[in-house]
């Protein structure tokens, strides 16, 4: 069978990335240009600044990726692009570049949902066995998704307020960790002890999550300790916070696996890099004989390799867009 090559572009937040994927499984070349250091000085991603950097970098990143792969646009079968969700100004740069390439080379244009990308990052590691449950955890998402086949996303639960990554970033700010705070909370959590009493967030029979209460509890606790003149043990607070988060995430995920009679779990998104979550899920899945796939660390942050993998399966299903395709800041995974 003829090989299929997908050129994929991702620019939904502060990474300009291009990747070439072969047959879904193989990453031929990927280039990721991150703006993290630029946004660090602002304490978070500034959308207009991000857009300005994307446009400066986009053609260079495409060129570097093709050079690295030793390929030309003529050898590419389709162009995949993250159309959303994300920062609209940033998404538009990748989208217009992708449309231009698709148009001038007469290639199909494949729209990819950013979260589908995170899920399909796992296809770069091993083939996805359906049915499966995907736990999507990132700065913008906390969702449990049941997939009975490719591109069938049944959301069985999600966050009612903050995404888990968002809660991490806010807690990082409370305990004065520099941006990006999430990974630093995770690191600190491994140095402390679970001494602070914090509520387990939304510990009920649903598959939904809520982290705003836990976040507020952390803020109040830090405030009260300060009022009393007590020194806050940051490491212990990080550990206590992380344990509550991991507890509720793993508890509901394990229950979903049981109820849906699924023995393959994949974890996707930036928070999939969280060591606390990795350790606990690994332990529980071993116990229950569940096959667990974590994306390698390099696929946890935003990258086009995952868009290439997701783009390949979308292409095989004929999910092609026309040139009126628009970027969407918010869009349901479907």
């Amino acid at each position: 069978m003829k090989d299929t090559y997908i050129l994929a572009i991702e620019s939904s937040c502060d990474e300009t990335s291009v990747s070439i994927n072969k047959n879904g499984r193989e990453e031929i070349a990927t280039v990721v240009l991150t703006q993290m250091d630029i946004h660090a000085q602002f304490g978070g991603v500034v959308p207009e600044v991000a857009s300005r950097h994307h446009i400066e970098n986009i053609t260079m990143v495409i060129e570097e990726c093709l050079t690295k792969a030793n390929m030309t646009m003529e050898e590419i079968d389709a162009v995949a692009v993250t159309y959303g969700p994300g920062l609209i100004g940033s998404l538009l740069i990748g989208l217009q570049a992708a449309k231009t390439l698709a148009y001038i080379y007469h290639k199909p244009l494949i729209p990819v949902h950013h979260i589908a990308g995170h899920i399909y990052a796992n296809a770069l590691v091993e083939s996805m066995k359906f049915p499966l449950i995907a736990l999507v955890v990132s700065g913008g998402h906390t969702e449990l998704i049941y997939m009975k086949e490719d591109y069938s996303f049944e959301k069985i639960g999600g966050t009612l307020d903050d995404a888990v990554g968002e809660a991490y970033d806010k807690v990082a700010r409370v305990i004065e960790l520099p941006y990006p705070g999430g990974p630093r909370v995770d690191q600190l959590a491994h140095e402390g002890e679970d001494t602070y009493h914090l509520p387990i967030p939304l510990d009920d029979e649903s598959y939904d999550f809520s982290f705003s209460g836990l976040k507020s509890a952390v803020i109040n606790l830090a405030h009260n300790e300060k009022q009393r003149g007590n020194e806050l043990n940051k490491a212990n607070l990080a550990t206590s916070f992380q344990n509550r988060v991991v507890e509720v995430l793993t508890k509901k995920t394990m229950r979903a696996l049981e109820e849906y009679n699924v023995d393959h779990l994949i974890v996707a998104g930036g928070v999939a890099a969280n060591k606390g979550l990795r350790e606990k899920l690994t332990e529980l899945c071993e116990e229950k004989n569940i096959h667990l796939t974590f994306p390698p660390m390099k696929y946890c942050t935003d990258n086009a390799a995952m868009i290439g993998a997701a783009g390949y399966y979308a292409y095989k299903l004929g999910r092609v867009a026309d040139l009126t395709l628009n970027s969407k800041a918010n869009d349901k995974l479907q």
């Binding site: 857009s51 446009i55 495409i62 217009q96 148009y103 001038i104 040139l323 009126t324 628009n326």
Partner: protein
């Protein structure tokens, strides 16, 4: 020389193909909120009607600002990607200079784009299209101080601003603009980027905090 012209920076979308400075095709339509979805169907219509393909173009002229930041970026992304991929020449042009190709009776021409908060992206040209005040982000009040004769000036803009003077809707002369720039050196597409004339608020605040 076969030229492609792309302008998505202002309230109009202007697409054109010119043989040297002679217009073969020109489309000038209102730029609404749907630029991102409309631009490629319009580009495709242009190539269909002229029976051409992007590969047939020798040089791309793209308006890189000032204007709507998102609008500018859409046109520039398309132009630089096309120029890079097809190894075409690329030359950035100014939206204000384009607007100033409008012919008026007055001696002075002040093309402007509303930048809100009583400020504009503006410039001042005389009758021979010589620049009297180079394009910049400037308060309307300050801009007016630079105009030699307030009774003999045409303000060229697509949207109204608070000003005591004659506002004329631009009626651009693409042929004149392209002729003026036909000997401009082509740039490396990677280096063709928007000319915003204004830093982001976040950068301005950061700079200020570092000075304080």
């Amino acid at each position: 020389m076969r030229n492609l012209f792309i302008d998505t920076a202002s309230s109009r979308i202007i697409l054109a193909i010119l043989e040297d400075d002679k217009i073969v095709y020109e489309k000038n339509v209102e730029n609404d909120m749907n630029l991102s979805t409309r631009i490629f169907p319009l580009i495709d219509e242009m190539f269909q009607k002229t029976n051409m393909q992007p590969i047939d173009i020798d040089r791309i002229y793209v308006v890189n600002g000032p204007g709507s930041f998102t609008g500018v970026r859409i046109g520039v992304t398309i132009a630089k990607t096309m120029a890079w991929a097809l190894h075409k020449e690329i030359v950035p042009l100014s939206e204000l200079e384009l607007m100033a190709t409008t012919s008026v009776e007055q001696t002075y021409k002040v093309p402007y784009i509303d930048a809100r908060r009583e400020a504009v992206f503006g410039a001042i040209y005389d009758k021979d299209n010589q620049v009297l005040l180079k394009e910049q982000y400037i308060s309307i009040e300050e801009l007016c101080k630079h105009i030699p004769d307030m009774n003999d000036v045409a303000f060229l803009g697509y949207t109204p601003i608070h000003i005591d003077g004659t506002i004329v809707e631009p009626n651009v002369n693409l042929s004149m603009l392209i002729k003026r720039h036909q000997n401009d050196r082509s740039l490396n597409p990677h280096e063709v980027n928007p000319n915003y004339l204004k830093r982001t608020e976040a950068e301005e605040k950061l700079e200020k905090s570092l000075h304080d």
